[in-house]
Amino acid sequence: MPVGVDFGTMNLVVCRRDESNNFVYTRETNSFIEMEVGDRFVFNMMKKSGVPLIERQEAGIAYALGESAMKIAYTMPNLELKRPMKDGCLNPKEKNAQQIMSIMIHSLLGNLKNDGETLYYSVPANAINQETDADYHGKVLDGIFKAFQDDAGFKVNANPINEGLAVIYSELENKNFTGISASCGAGQVNLCFAIFGAPVFQFSIVNSGDWIDRQAARAVGESEVFVNKEKEKLDFTVQQDSLVLRALKTQYEIMMQRTVAEIKRGLETAGNKARTDKPIDIVVAGGTSLPNGFDKAFADLVVKADLPIQLGEVLRPQDPLYCVARGALVAAENAN
């Protein structure tokens, strides 16, 4: 059974089909904290309460993984929340974090139905507004999947797919996989314009969810972890009464304006290659697009931008957190 994997800066998602052919997802947060195992009692209590833990006994260190790590960091600000990926890519200076991420993704994959199952995983495009190393990132992910083996010794046949293209595969099947996607993750906005599933342009912008949190946190003097939690209350359809939410909304507006401007620039650069005879839909997805009213606010900016195409609809799927993984699975299912 093929597998789709979203390797996001904030979220790791694995997508498969169940026996009834429905999409099913396994998700976790791509983060961890490092703790000294001074108090064995605390360590054992964490283990009993289901916190995913890795222990390095020789160093007296333990790592709490995933969402549990985020909750611990939120209540204990002296513990630094570590994220293996930054701005959409792996940090080559954080080799330890890469090992932790490998354990996380291997654990998420679980057991396979067959040896050599086809797996597609999302990769970002290089950013146009900051130096990123998508090539190194891709090589490390390839290494992680090559090392994977399940309990029966089964391995995967892993292949990369651009994150923006994965969103198009997920959401635009009824439009012959033709349209524009803006996958608004934590690290980057990955943009892709495809015609019949073939990319016309694909690139990314490093100014997305994490940047919004960082800028808003700086403006109001709070921690990024706190601001990120407050972001769950953000609603574009109503006036925001708290300082944090107003700061978040301002940064969001800057991020959306930049994204729309880059879509326009991409279309103008593509020129003749962007010509189609039907209206083009734009799909916005990713965790950063979750706030209520984001899609309407984004659509308003798109209309004002007067893009050089016949504009269709601006859509946001019901489950914007899962469409990259779903699109990767669609690619895996159609690979042979």
Partner: protein, 69 residues
């Protein structure tokens, strides 16, 4: 009259790689005296942190992790 001179930062290539050299001169000239005091600050050598782009080896360890949604 005191004057602090800092020359522009120079990037130079040595046998060990590229480094940054900073040279500063602190000059004090007292016109009422016969003499010149010159102080020299230490040359600062800053080396750019080398980034290792080697892909590490990965094991096959797993833990109970992930929530079905």
């Amino acid at each position: 009259m005191a004057r602090f001179e800092k020359l522009p930062v120079v990037k130079t290539v040595t046998k060990d790689g590229e480094c940054v050299v900073t040279i500063s001169l602190d000059i004090n000239i007292n016109l009422n005296q016969n003499g010149i005091n010159i102080g020299v600050t230490t040359v600062e050598k800053q080396e750019e942190e080398k980034v290792d782009f080697v892909v590490p080896e990965f094991g096959n360890k797993k833990v109970a992790f992930g929530k079905k949604v």
